[in-house]
Amino acid sequence: MFDNFPLWPVRASAGAGNVDALYIFLVALSAFMCVAIFTMILVFATMYRRRRGVEAEQIEGSSALEITWSIIPLGIFMVIFLWGAVIYFHERTPPQGASEVYVVGKQWMWKLQHEEGPREINELHVPVGRDVKLIMTSQDVIHSFYVPAFRIKQDVLPGRYTTAWFRATRPGVYHLFCSQYCGTMHSGMIGQVVVMEPAQYQAWLSGGGTTGSLAASGESLFQQLGCPTCHRSDTQGRGPILSGIFGKPVQLEDGRIVIADENYIRESILSPSAKIVSGFKPIMPVFQGLVGEEQLNALVAYIKSLSPAPSGAAGKTSLTPAGTRSQNP
């Protein structure tokens, strides 16, 4: 019976330990406070229960006490806040060079695609010890990508990317839940994350009959859609040069400067006029409705691949800039 009755979730990611430590601290603190308050109440309730002839003693209050029991909790709260904020900051800042998985949520399934190419549905295979960054969007309503064993959760929104990351530390099969209510089969929108030893993972990767990396399919799509006619590798193009652009600040026509992140590239494909790069004309057609979420992911992956990551991106495919795009990895 107790096989079916675990009381603590498995810990299978690098960040999970931090969350658990803070959680245990908070449980201990709460238990202490509860015991303290309940003991006081019980002691008072028995010591001062109503007796004939014994009147209550009227006590006005004490500002010193009030200030004490306001300031001390506030101090403790600030410690909790800081501790939690550090963990959160860590959770929301994917490390450089993480390998990327594109996730599309739809009613009621998860569609995932590795940057190496393999696609999966409701299942995610990852090796132990590698940083994995999830770049997620939704085709319809809001979903939420939740892996309890990794202690990560991130809502997946229609119309933009959100990201999450983890580094699995323990091989095994773990639940993947949708935790944001999304309609009839919300509770059926579950899957599993399979964490494997690196060697097994490589075997799994090569066994899948892959069709080439995500960036490569993005590149062929880039060609199909005729993008290179304007986005050329030299300065003669009618559109900005795309190589090396990812992650860099971009000067816009209206003077603003934005960072070219995934959401910026996404927006620039779907609604190019929203943020015009300084010195260019708003002539690019709108691709909203012409490319699906998964094609969009491929395009984004391709454009990102034109900007090699600065530090060791072990699993990344090294692509040449757009001008000499004839080579394939």
């Binding site: 019976m1 969350v19 904020a85 309609g183 919300h186 059926g188």
Partner: protein, 544 residues
């Protein structure tokens, strides 16, 4: 005012007029309170019925009792009925309506006809909502998140939205009436520092109702427009931001939690003072903490959105602000505890509910610290941990407060005593049933069981079975009071004017009070909670 017992013959607000018209057209705040009492009890049991079905479905991991769509409607309608048609009107519209004028020595609320109007608005809203339930219901969750509610749900979202929009105006008008009454209608000598803490908390509640509710109203109206007229304000396919809806929704719906809990704290202050026979420890701090909760409560809403995709920086801001609102709540708990020190404590039913309230509210409040904490919230957000937390606040806190208050003032409302032994039994049942139902859900939540799941992985079953078992005990605990309250209206012992030996103006008039509350206009010359001047009741109802 001195003698009771003969009060059965006295003219009071209950026996002054008879007939359905005298109730449906009344402008007497006490009668309107009873109208509310009847209507919210009705909705409470509807919401409770949905809850039981939810718990029964979750008895097994497979979705086998009802269809998935039915289950989704059940939890959506459970939430909406309980929040908008029970909890928000519960203490303000029943006990507040009855007590605010009595406690400050007024003949009625400032706008009696608006008070009646707000009950009618509630009834109109309730009728529309019932129609919505009967004709198919709504499956958006109580939160109406877009774009699901605007573009994907196939259920009666428009009807539910309009119904809650109208219920909102009922709530706004009640709050408006209270604020004006408290400002303008106090009896001579009833200064702000002599107000019962109940009034302070009710005032704070009203501020939230006035300034928060309209934002919910416009938000739901925009959702309705978006569904009905194809406007595109929250529509992501037109570049709208689904998070905008969440911002606007939680701007009201987080403070709404304080609309539910502040009145329960209001009741607690009165009950604890009475049954320890003491002035509340730190009156000024308790009073001001109510106002502080009302104001700070508006600064924290996006802690419901830490994983929703808001910016990292605003998440930090909202997290730190969330801790600020925890301080005044902590102050209250400490002060109630300190009030018991050197008191003269008796264990009547209202006091048992008060003990229960403090315990459950403390646990609910402490688990709130987990959720305000960014690092933990990412893991437990939208899991059963959240469900457990807010049920500890709203059921463990608000409903315990409501029931305790109903017992405490029942002699004043009905002129009869409820059966004390049954009352204590029910209080114990509610307390133990509640803990059995909701404590396992904290563990489930940290284990990772998401909320709103119709079926779930089998390893969560044992805790779910415990929870379902608890909910049946809880149900009995809730049905019992309704039975014996009804019984006592006819057969209960006649209550004296002040059976508890309580301070407060409401106990200085007869039970039940006359239509205009006081035979002669009271003039207040004493401080609040002057228990040293009030004789303890001669062991009335406190036999051990």
């Amino acid at each position: 005012m001195a003698t009771a017992a003969i009060s059965a013959e006295r003219e009071n607000y209950l026996n002054k007029e008879y007939g359905i018209r005298s109730w449906l057209l009344t402008t007497d705040h006490k009668r309107i309170a009873l109208l509310y009492l009847a209507s919210i009890t009705f909705f409470f049991f509807i919401g409770g019925f949905f809850a039981l079905l939810i718990r029964l479905e979750l008895l097994t991991p497979a979705g086998d009792l009802v269809q998935a769509d039915t289950y989704n409607k059940l939890f959506s309608m459970h939430g909406q009925v309980m929040i908008f048609f029970f909890l928000i009107p519960s203490i303000p519209a029943v006990l507040g309506n009855f007590l605010v004028p009595l406690m400050i020595g007024a003949k009625d609320l400032a706008f009696p006809r608006i008070n009646l109007l707000s009950w009618y608005l509630y009834i109109i809203a309730g009728t529309i909502y019932l129609h919505c339930i009967v004709t198919g219901g709504v499956d958006t969750g109580w939160t109406f998140y877009t774009p699901f509610s605007t573009a994907f749900s196939n259920t009666r979202v428009i009807e539910a939205g309009i119904s809650i929009f109208i219920a909102g105006f009922s709530s706004i008008l009640t709050g408006l009436n209270f604020v004006v009454t408290i400002h303008r209608m106090r009896a001579p000598g009833m200064t702000w520092s002599r107000l019962p803490l109940f009034i302070w908390a009710m005032y704070a509640t009203s501020i939230i109702q006035l300034l928060g509710t309209p934002v919910l109203a416009i938000t739901l109206l925009l959702v309705v427009f978006e569904r009905a007229f194809n406007l595109g304000i929250f529509d992501p396919t037109r570049g709208g931001d689904p998070l905008l809806f969440q911002h606007l929704f939680w701007f009201y719906s987080h403070p709404a939690v304080y609309i539910m809990i502040l009145p329960a704290m209001a009741v607690e202050s009165e009950v604890v003072a009475c049954f320890t026979r003491k002035r509340i420890f730190g009156y000024n701090f308790v009073a001001m903490s109510s106002i502080a909760i009302a104001v700070f409560g508006f600064l924290v809403w996006a802690h419901h959105m830490f994983v929703a995709g808001i910016s990292l920086y605003s998440a930090l801001v909202f997290s730190i602000l969330s801790y600020l609102v925890a301080v005044p709540s902590a102050i209250k708990v400490f002060n109630w505890t300190a009030t018991m020190y050197k008191g003269s404590i008796s264990f009547t039913t209202p006091m048992l509910y008060a003990f229960g309230f403090i315990g459950l509210f403390t646990m609910g409040g402490l688990t709130g610290l987990f959720l305000a904490c960014l690092g933990i919230d990412v893991h437990v957000h939208d899991t059963y941990f959240v469900i457990a937390h807010f049920h500890y606040i709203m059921v463990g806190g608000a409903v315990m407060g409501y029931l305790g208050g109903l017992h405490f003032w029942w002699p004043k409302i009905s002129g009869r005593m409820y059966p004390e032994a049954w009352g204590r039994l029910a209080a114990l049942l509610v307390f133990s049933g509640f803990n059995l139902t909701f404590f396992p859900q904290f563990i489930l939540g940290y284990m990772g069981m998401p909320r709103r799941y119709w079926q779930y992985p089998p390893e969560f079953q044992v805790l779910n079975v415990l929870s379902t078992a608890g909910s049946t005990i809880l149900a009995i605990g809730y049905v019992l009071p309704m039975v014996y309250f009804l019984w006592s209206m006819r057969y209960g012992k006649i209550a004296s004017d002040n059976p508890w030996g309580a301070a407060g103006l409401e106990w200085k008039t007869s039970s039940p009070p006359p239509t205009f509350n006081f035979d002669e206009e009271p003039e207040v010359t004493w401080e609040a909670y002057n228990y040293e001047q009030i004789p303890a009741p001669a062991e009335v109802n406190i036999e051990r």
